[in-house]
Amino acid sequence: MSKSLILFGIWCAFLIIVSGVTAWYGWAPFPDNDRSSSSSLYRGPTHK
């Protein structure tokens, strides 16, 4: 196995571990509990 493949494999393993950590802590980048309240949002179709 070449050095580049080994390095890429380490990178893949690192990302798997990071995703496991985020899943363990229930973390998401854009959760709905961060969204602003309904009163400030436009509602209606965007179709012109």
């Binding site: 990302l15 995703s19 985020t22 802590y25 969204r35 602003s36 949002l41 179709h47």
Partner: protein, 443 residues
Amino acid sequence: MSGSSGSVRAITCPSCGGTIEVRAAGYTVTLACQHCGSLLDTTHADVQIITAYKRAAKNFAIALGTRGTLFGTEWQVIGALKRHSSDSGDWQEFLLFNPYAGYRWLVVAEGEWQFGTMLMDRPEGSGRTVSWRGQTYTLAGTESAETRTVLGEFYWKVARGDTASASTFEGRSGVLSHEEVAGEVTWTQLAPVDADEVASAFSVSRKFVPKPDTPSFGQRFMGAPRSGSDDLPMMFLMALAALLAIGLVQELLSYPHACAKSEAAVTVGSGPSSTKIGTIEAWRPWQFVTIDAVSSEFQNRWVDLDYSLVNRKTQQSIDAYGVVEYYTGTDSDGPWAEGSRGANTLFSSVPGGTYDIFVETGAHGWPNDPTPPANGGVDGTGTWAPPNAADLAYSGGDAWASAEKITIWFEACTGGFSWGVFWIMAILLFALPLTMLWWRLRD
């Protein structure tokens, strides 16, 4: 067998004409003539020429004047060239001489040696294919070769800076080299020679043998065409396997699932109303909580869903917002539709504990709310119905005649799948192999 170096070590004294030997050219500051005692400055032209020769003679794989036996014939190296092209890089050519056999060539490039014999009979044909002595040779490439260093004796006029058009023709039995300078054409047959055989015959200085270009680490990683390795398909497979593993990890760590269900009937245009969806037990220290909402049929309406997870122990509330909305219309392109009658709301990093889940609903019409009925009313029965029960008849036919109601079924569960994390990981996994693919294809 190899002979001693035949470097020039003698100059003529300008005073008496005697021969002076220079043993340390390049280091000697003052030179004394042993015949007349004259002292020569090293700025003397002849001394400078010797110094320049020593400098030029360095870094050749075979020293000028070396003798060696190849293919049963003893040769002496009488000339040496350093040449360069942008495609092939640097190489060295050594002119060999035997008084009975004549001239031959030794060419070394990228660590490989070739023995060259000038053709006396010109190959037939032109363009991409030529034939010589019954063999066919095909053009492999043409480049401009520049002579950078000239040393020793040659049977034609050659100087530093000369450029020639050099073509290589490959065939089953060997290689033919075609060079053209100022209309004069030379054909040479090149046959590979084992490097060890040349080294033992001519005392080759291996450190001065032109080596193949070593790709930089970046070139090797990006898969330069000459590197010979192709890790790219394996990298794509590894990225795909890692992405599947990430999806599996996310799914497995979302367990256990504890759920609560409820439904609410919301009057369009009336004020917000609150409904308790149920109570869930969050067992893990931290987890997602997902609330799915599916509504009955409606058009040109939206329903605000303000959720609250209230921790029974701490009374702290985690709030989130969702919406179900659906719009239709017609324009010059025909009918259109927009929105969804279902909504998935994700709470992240919810601490463990027991949670009461509430939702505040508010249904509105677009572009305007219908007039609310006098008796208002949200009927939250708390009875669950399957999602396909949303195919109830649209009850809002004449919004001005009766209270229009939208029924929403809720299901709240611990656990969830973060598509945001999944797609971020997908980008991080495939960015490098895709960049490598683009890098190769751009050429």
